[in-house]
Symmetry: C2
Subunit: 266 residues, 2 copies
């Protein structure tokens, strides 16, 4: 198979990465996409770096069996801890969601950036490090928001409870007078409206799904691997419970998903 | 080693089972207890029956290597789906948390029982079936409460958000005029006060940890396996992230935990 015709492999701890999948699909409609959601071991955001890395390597190995031409780590926690190891271990380009998000934030910020993420991603300091590498004068304020993932999975995106929880988590960032807020977990874009309302006008909200798809496009173009014809087929695999994935996945997808197939990684 | 001196093996998907561990410790202070929290794959309440059963069998096999004399499945989801398979597969007594909870509820109810649990436990209908086997005239109303587990793990037990979420989930059960409410997930006892306030006086709150420990005691006594001397040593194992387990575990334990050791099951 010609390199360009090979699929892009995308993995996430579960459903959240569909926000990335969908943006790549929108920007690159001809590409073949293979998505793996590790729903049997979801969530990653409360697990140790070593465990997250072990799971990430197993996910990558699964996608490599599908002849992917590049890997997208569509999970912030996995990107924060495992991207370097994946790049060392596998002979193909791999991009995560942290660097593109950091880049987008650094590009628009007037000086004060907030980052919301899972507790493990916050602990990694991946965003502050990536942002300061781009511009050491930027101040970065991080806030772990453990409940937001469950909130999105429950489908509570703009009710009173969603609003209260969001207000609670964002209170310190509002006091810190940030001008830019990075949504450092692929579940959070579904709460974008509520988060935007709580932060108020004038705060840039950065959804890394959007910038990741641009990075994917330029990486493929730069390597002569862009697919220029074809139907843009999609394959979606999960490690557990395809029915639940299809049901919750509609929230992320804004419509029915392609068929979801259950697989065993180990 | 004499049968009585062997430990009781307890497993849960994570931290929630410590409510059961602690009750068994209180009722049977001389017993040796070995606890396994499968934190690398937590939570079970959103996963498929087949996956929950695979994990439960691996957890049981781990405990058997520690020479346990009986197994306690301290997770409602695992009890609902996997207890029968565990009993078939392993040659030792095993008890779960569903039957003791159902028994306690049936004993005090005037006719209308509510059950709150994870979505998978509710889907199993394990509680309604167990309660109706005891007394077919009892009406059972179930409510899945997916966010409550994360709420407890976040340590929000009686703030305004905990109250709002609890009110939301319990609204239908209040309309159903239940007289008894089963806490069908080992995380929920930490929300007992908030749940009690929302339900109002006159509703019995059933925490199966209490009844399970009675069942364990009578099973051991009936089989001549009760330990009558000794210090009541405890061993706690987790499949991931002992630091997080120790931190959140203090909520369940009301104090410091015994040392927590990380193990690989596979």
């Amino acid at each position: 198979m010609a390199q360009a015709d090979k699929p892009i492999g995308i993995f996430d701890s579960g459903i959240g990465g569909l926000t990335v999948f969908q943006e790549i699909r929108r920007v690159l409609p001809r590409e073949r996409l293979v998505y793996l959601g590790d729903t049997a071991r979801f969530p990653y955001g409360t697990k140790s770096p070593a465990t997250v890395t072990r799971y990430s390597l197993e996910n990558s190995a699964f996608l490599l069996k599908h002849q992917v031409k590049m890997l997208v780590v569509a999970c912030n926690t996995a990107s924060a801890y495992s991207l370097e190891v994946i790049r060392e271990r596998f002979p193909l380009p791999a991009i995560g969601v942290v660097e593109p998000g950091a880049k987008a934030a650094a590009a628009v910020s007037g000086g004060r950036i907030g980052v919301i993420a899972t507790e493990v991603t916050v602990h990694s300091e991946a965003y502050p490090k990536a942002i300061r590498r781009l511009n050491p004068s930027l101040a970065v304020f991080s806030q772990a928001c453990p409940l937001l993932v469950s909130l999105v999975e429950e489908g509570w995106l703009d009710n009173e409870i969603a609003r209260k929880i969001t207000e609670h988590y964002l209170a310190n960032l509002r006091k810190s007078k940030i001008d830019t807020l990075v949504l450092g977990c692929t579940h959070y874009p579904l709460l974008k409206r509520t988060i935007g309302e709580v932060m108020g006008e004038g705060v840039h909200i950065i959804d890394s799904a959007e910038t990741v798809s641009q990075e994917v496009a330029s990486l493929l173009e730069g390597n002569g691997m862009l697919r220029t014809e074809g139907e843009g087929e999609s394959e979606i695999y999960v490690t557990d419970f395809p029915q639940r994935f299809e049901r919750v996945g509609r929230l992320f997808f804004g419509g029915d998903l392609p068929a979801v197939v259950q697989v065993d990684l180990i």
